[in-house]
């Protein structure tokens, strides 16, 4: 009788030359998604804080939106970790019995701290709105209205004071929370970098630069995603204005002007962080090549042969260089901006891929390679969880959550 057993990783790993028997690509697509999603959370939050803390007035519209968006992204930073566990139901143990020499153990604490900050900041931003809604819905008898009133009623947490002094206090609380939030957001993500950077057995990951590289690219991707979504929203507004009042109307040009203004400001921050990210990554490669430790032979093989297209063409070329040029060349249009932003998001994704999968593309023996074949069509729970569809689930969830949250906490309307 032939036993039909599923060895984790065997499904998508192809080995070449001398690889130890137990080596497989154990950290697969979900571990690519994990730093990508946390990066977006952190980046979105940092962007919203630019307004709340540093008073960048032109980012006002975006600030509220990116704050709520970072809340929607928050549970999704956890989701890929859960999906990749072999025992997902035991995941909660990380919170109950953390083993503090482990980099992952502190995840619960860092993550919860961050979640509390985001939630309370949103509460302070929207408290007045909750109170107003409760008042407005008073006396209405429809089922939907009663439910909504109940929700808002609970959300006020009993704080009904919306006098000018009280709202001024709210504002101060928001500023303080946003200020604390920036280092915490960076920590949350730098920490994801640390999880990789501290694996001493992995020649590609082990680098003290890893957390910093992760933070920089996180901010890049977060800003890019918020800008992109902002453009979509503004285009929608413009479209509605055109429908309502015709193309030549003043409001249309006003919206277009505001949009371009916000975008050119935001893209300056974006460029700055992009330069920092690329510089650090290149420094890392150059340093490895120059010091040429034992692992360099195999790393060079992976970087310049096996994964050349993924690293130099897709990540650095298409994901960094092209958008860099698109953003810098004079006469930026919204359309060109959109292309650049999409490419940047793609570039950061490729960076995560090349770190996570690339780090497992060679054997610990330094004498063999492993190739990753992303499972496309799921035929078991495992190939769903750690396949294309699992990754898509993770990618789509924040938008669904955002849509839900937005029903109660409207981040796109003027409040």
């Amino acid at each position: 009788m032939v036993e039909q057993v599923m060895v984790h990783g065997a499904e998508w790993t192809a080995k070449e030359l001398f690889v130890y028997p137990n080596e497989f690509i154990y950290w697969s697509i979900q571990i690519v998604m994990y730093p990508y999603m946390t990066g977006l959370v952190a980046g979105a939050f940092v962007l919203s804080s630019l307004y709340h803390v540093f008073g960048q007035k032109d980012l006002k519209d975006m600030a509220k939106f990116s704050l709520v968006f970072s809340l929607a992204l928050l549970p999704v930073a956890m989701l890929p970790l859960m999906l990749h566990l072999q025992q997902p139901l035991r995941g909660i143990e990380v919170l109950f019995t953390p083993h503090f020499t482990s980099a992952i153990a502190a995840f619960g604490i860092v993550f919860t701290t961050y979640a509390i900050i985001v939630l309370s900041e949103i509460w302070f931003v929207y408290r007045r709105y909750f109170v107003e809604q409760t008042m407005a819905l008073k006396g209405k008898t429809g089922f939907g209205d009663t439910v909504r009133r109940g929700i808002y009623h609970v959300l006020t947490l009993g704080a009904y004071d919306i006098s000018p002094e009280a709202t001024a206090k709210d504002h101060r609380a928001v500023t303080v929370l946003a200020a604390i939030g920036i280092p915490v957001a960076c920590f949350l993500h730098g920490y994801a970098g640390f999880i990789f950077g501290s694996v001493k057995a992995n020649a590609l990951w082990m680098s003290p630069l890893m957390p910093v590289i992760f933070i920089m690219s996180a901010v890049v991707s977060g800003i890019a995603l918020c800008m992109l979504t902002y453009i979509i929203i503004m285009e929608w507004k413009k479209f509605k204005a055109i429908l309502a009042r015709g193309r030549g109307d003043e409001t249309v040009t006003v919206i277009a002007g505001v949009e371009m203004d916000v975008m050119s400001k935001a893209s300056k921050y974006l460029l700055g962080f992009l330069v920092a990210a690329i510089t650090l990554e290149l420094l890392d490669i150059i340093f490895r090549g120059y010091t040429a430790m034992k692992s360099w032979d195999i790393l060079r093989d992976v970087m310049f042969h096996k994964d050349f297209v993924k690293i130099f063409v897709l990540q650095y070329g298409l994901g960094n260089l092209v958008p860099f040029a698109l953003l810098l060349l004079p006469g930026v249009t919204i359309r060109r901006l959109v292309v650049a932003l999409v490419l940047i998001l793609f570039g950061v994704f490729m960076m995560r891929w090349n770190v996570v999968i690339g780090g497992q593309a060679f054997s610990l023996s330094f004498a063999g390679f492993m190739h990753y074949h992303l499972p496309m069509i799921p035929h078991s729970l495992e190939t769903y969880k750690e396949g294309l569809f699992g990754a898509l689930t993770v990618a789509v969830t924040p938008f669904v959550i955002f849509w839900l949250i937005n029903k109660i906490v409207p981040s796109l309307k003027e409040v």
Partner: protein, 257 residues
């Protein structure tokens, strides 16, 4: 106080049995093994591999798979044997098909051309297993403490507590860990802890027909195997990671990865 003959005899028999017991225990268990059974800190398990004696038959791998219930046809294993063939052109060819469960029956390495014997300058086999490191990086990174070191130096995995994150698998520089295909938790060699703590030898040591594998108590300097480790020139694998392994090798070649 009167002492009937009957009670005297009874006590005498009891006394004789009590007196003989430690001797019997001494014979069944080595002192080290007996001490470890009561979790004495004077035991530190170590392992010695004599690479010159290994012929790559794979008996140890077979025995390990059966003893520790690792699905026989799964391509993962707690211990394995590597074959190294160094050719005249200075190249090293290495492989370990199915962890050498069935030995090395094919001249071809990685399904390529069979190597011409006259081209071979040296060839040898190297058994591998968990090093039960003094500074185990696998233990360091486990987020829930499901993998831990015992007082006598063996690194174990708690199957009821492991969340299956794979961090330990990533952190071990020797590639000895994997996910158990049935239990879905981290799995690794533990020198057959269930056996050594009862005075038996690990299944692989027992199964090796050529005496290439030995277990010992590193704290007992009278242990013949420990004496070899102390007196002979032995090497360890991947010193540079600072994990301080406790599997020692006689006749280790620099080509071994």
């Amino acid at each position: 106080m009167t002492c009937s003959r009957r009670t005297f005899l009874k006590n005498a028999v009891k006394g004789a049995i009590a007196g003989a017991l430690p001797v019997a225990a001494f014979r069944l268990l080595s002192p080290a093994q007996a001490r470890s059974a009561v979790e004495d800190a004077s035991v530190r398990w170590g392992f010695l591999v004599d690479t010159a004696k290994c012929v790559g038959c794979g008996m140890c791998v077979k025995a390990c798979k059966l003893e520790n219930e690792i699905p026989y046809d799964a391509p993962v294993t707690r211990t394995w044997v590597e074959r190294y063939v160094v050719t005249r052109d200075g190249r090293t060819h290495a492989d370990s098909p199915m962890g050498a469960r069935d030995g090395f029956t094919d001249r071809k390495i990685h399904g390529g051309e069979a190597i011409d014997p006259s081209e071979i300058v040296k060839a040898f086999f190297v058994p591998k297993l968990c090093n039960q490191c003094d500074k185990p990086s696998c233990v360091q990174v486990c987020p829930v403490g499901a993998t831990y070191a015992t007082g006598d130096g063996i690194v174990l995995v708690d199957r009821s507590w492991c969340i299956g994150c794979g961090h330990c698998i990533m952190a071990c520089p020797y590639g000895v860990r994997f996910f158990h295909p049935v239990h879905k938790v981290a799995e690794k060699c533990n020198f057959c802890y269930h056996r050594i703590t009862k005075g038996m030898k690990p299944a692989c040591v027992e199964a090796c027909p050529f005496g290439a594998r030995h277990i010992c108590n590193l704290k007992d300097h009278d242990d013949p195997v420990t004496r070899i480790i102390l007196n002979e020139r032995v090497a360890i694998l991947k010193d540079e990671y600072g994990t301080k392994p406790n599997v020692f090798y006689l006749g280790l070649d620099h080509n071994v990865r």
